[in-house]
């Protein structure tokens, strides 16, 4: 299967993929800094890379809070309801 070969090939190049990913992250931030902001109405439009920080903090909190609440209260054994 060709698809499988491509995936296996990429899995062999994880280090290169990692570098490509970080380059991509940089490019995304650069893109946000370069786009014109003439029609910025609100602070979310005006601040450079606002959504980068938002995603970093938001994603971190989402994982920490969800997992925390699950471990604290919500999580039960699979046969909890019988």
């Amino acid at each position: 299967m060709d698809v499988l070969k491509i995936i296996e090939y990429l899995r062999g190049k994880l280090a290169a993929l990692r570098i490509a990913f970080f380059v991509f992250l940089g490019a995304v931030v650069l893109f946000d800094i370069l786009i014109p902001r003439g029609d910025a109405h609100y602070f979310v439009d005006a601040i450079y890379a606002f959504w980068t920080f938002f995603a970093l903090i938001g994603c971190f909190l989402l994982i920490k809070i969800s997992k925390g609440v699950a471990h604290l209260i919500l999580s039960k054994d699979e046969d909890y309801y019988g």
Partner: protein
């Protein structure tokens, strides 16, 4: 063309005809029914059809306009894809339930009055539950009953609301309601609709039931109930502030659960709540762009969510489990399924060039345009969670990650399932690349360009940096073989509590009462019995004995008439008949 054929008709007739067909004819028929209904929708012209008058109220079976047509289009397309995915199933009942379900959803979408809507609403609940029961096994049966109870309750809310509404306005017409005019009747109707849209806290039926449905049934379920609810909310309740707030809350609530859930189909079920949250919020914001966004997102969502359920269903179908803690390394055995699932995942996450991007961004942009920055921020937070759980967590732990502990007998699913997934993937891509194919269907004429620099920058930052956090915290997200409590806890444990109350309090009280009666009541009873006995002997027996003697005398007369010969009986009967006739005609 002035006449109109209700597309639901094909599904109802098709369901009734299906059991009479066999073999390949049946398989062809299962695909033909939705195909013909697509044609019926394509030929439909805007207008009002099928007016009727019933119980003093005017009803409309077919309100065909831009708003109902968006939903009708995606419903019939989805019906075809769902039928294709379920083609290998042998049970007629499963296909019939699917047809009735789609037909009633179409009926609800075209309904112009509450009575018609209510009837189809109920058929929808009762037909869809079979798609859960067809999974078979106790868990599915119990989940099905809970699902049904919940929807019957929702139906009652709607019914109570529409009756009060009729009392208040004298009409059952289903029209847009202004928030200022809303009081009890409207809010009851709203609650009935909200229950089907899985608005908090009336949502627990969804993640409780859908993961227990049959592999093929879940694909149907995820498309119709909640989106019919979004349609009726958009039609009746656009601009209701409570919907904007609750919808946004749903978007975040759903993804929080999706982060911690273990079963893929439960992750996806919570994502229905989250995605429907965007639509409900769009309806609540109520501007033309927002309501357009809600309609567009319903369209896109039905396709990519069905695709995700198809992918998860395929995994369940071949491996027998959808639990992430027991899966891993599936890319080797089902690479095509993985690719299709990933197309669904990037669509729901709102990747540029895929369908979710062109629809979800409309709602987020509408919130932005109205200056509702909190709503916008929370929706984007939900977007982070969406990519994190559906896109990254499920893909990584099911298809990559470490190999499952017990070896899985995994392979690609049957060809019809692959074709269904392939076609759905193609549609997700077409909508993403050519958004105008979707936008021309939308109810309001609004200029909107998804692919502008600001939208792209926003989406790319959110998605790629979510990827970065996932990469850093992947260990924290390891699936755990657990379930998580939701508000269904209250009625599932509540029901047990009630049973315990019955066993520990009601039953002993009943026994105690019996004892009391036996010890205290029996003395009086005996006294009473003595009196009755005396009365019986002296008074009743006298009368009864007298009557008995009369009957015996009459009996001996009749005995002489019973000769055992049929001609005697006929003669006697004729004689009696003439006697009665004579009595009636002459004497009276």
């Amino acid at each position: 063309m002035d006449s109109w054929i209700h597309p639901a008709l094909f599904f109802f007739l098709g369901a009734l005809l299906l059991p009479f067909l066999k073999g390949r004819t049946k398989k062809a028929f299962i695909l033909l029914v939705p195909a013909v209904s697509i044609l019926a929708v394509a030929l439909a012209r805007h207008g009002t059809y099928g007016r009727y008058h019933f119980l003093g109220a005017d009803g409309i079976f077919g309100r065909v306009d831009a708003m109902s047509m968006v939903f009708a289009w995606v419903f019939v397309i989805m019906a075809f894809l769902g039928a294709l995915y379920a083609l290998h199933r042998e049970e007629d009942g499963h296909h019939m339930a699917g047809f009735f379900y789609v037909g009633s959803a179409l009926g609800a979408v075209f309904a112009g009055d509450y009575l018609t809507l209510f009837i189809f609403w109920e058929i929808m609940a009762f037909s869809s539950v079979f798609l859960i029961w067809y999974r078979k096994g106790n868990k599915a049966i119990e989940a099905g009953f809970r699902y049904l109870l919940f929807h019957v309750f929702g139906g009652l809310l709607l019914f109570a609301g529409m009756m009060l509404y009729y009392y208040k306005t004298g009409s059952l017409a289903f029209e847009s309601i202004l928030p200022a005019n809303a009081s009890w009747p409207e809010y009851l109707i709203l609650a009935g609709f909200a229950l089907n849209a899985a608005v908090l806290p009336l949502h627990a039926w969804l993640p409780d039931a859908y993961p227990e449905a049959s592999v093929e049934g879940a694909v149907f379920l995820c498309a119709f109930t909640t989106k019919t609810a979004v349609y009726v909310l958009a039609r009746g309740f656009s601009g209701f502030e409570i919907l904007a707030v609750m919808g946004t809350a749903m978007t975040v609530f759903g993804v929080c659960y999706a982060v911690i859930e273990n079963d893929i189909r439960r992750v996806l079920a919570y994502h229905i709540i989250s995605q429907v949250g965007y639509m409900v919020a769009g309806v609540g914001i109520g501007t033309a762009l927002a309501v357009n966004g809600a309609a567009a997102h319903s369209f896109a969502h039905i396709l990519y969510k069905a695709l995700l359920f198809m992918g998860a269903g395929s995994v369940l179908y071949v491996t027998g489990t959808a639990k992430l803690s027991r899966l891993g390394g599936l890319y080797k055995y089902m690479p095509l399924t993985m690719i299709f699932y990933v197309v669904g995942a990037v669509s729901i996450s709102g990747f540029p060039l895929f369908s979710g991007f062109v629809s979800k961004s409309m709602i987020v942009a509408a919130a932005h345009e109205e200056g509702r920055l909190w709503l916008m921020a929370l929706m984007n937070l939900a977007g982070i969670g969406t990519f994190l759980s559906v896109g990254l967590k499920v893909t990584y732990f099911a298809f990559f990650g470490k190999e499952a502990a017990e070896p899985l007998a995994a392979k690609e699913p049957p060809l019809n399932m692959l074709w269904a997934m392939g076609l759905t993937s193609l549609l997700c891509l077409i909508i993403g690349v050519f958004p105008r194919t979707l936008y021309v269907l939308l109810p309001f004429p609004v200029e909107y360009h998804p692919y502008n620099a600001a939208h792209l920058a926003e989406a790319l930052q959110i998605l790629s940096f979510t990827g970065l956090v996932f990469y850093l915290l992947v260990k924290k997200l390891s699936p755990e073989a657990k379930i998580n409590l939701d508000v269904d806890y209250f009625y599932r444990k509540g029901a047990l509590l009630f049973m315990k109350f019955d066993e520990k309090v009601v039953a002993p009280l009943d026994t105690l009462w019996g004892e009391l009666y036996r010890t205290l009541g029996l003395g009086a009873l005996f006294k009473n019995a003595d009196l009755s006995y005396a009365f019986d002997r002296k008074a009743i027996d006298g009368v009864v004995d007298g009557t008995a003697y009369s009957v015996m005398d009459f009996g001996s007369v009749v005995k002489r008439l019973q000769t055992g010969r049929i001609q005697t009986y006929i003669g006697l009967a004729l004689f009696m008949l003439f006697a009665i006739l004579w009595f009636v005609l002459v004497v009276a």
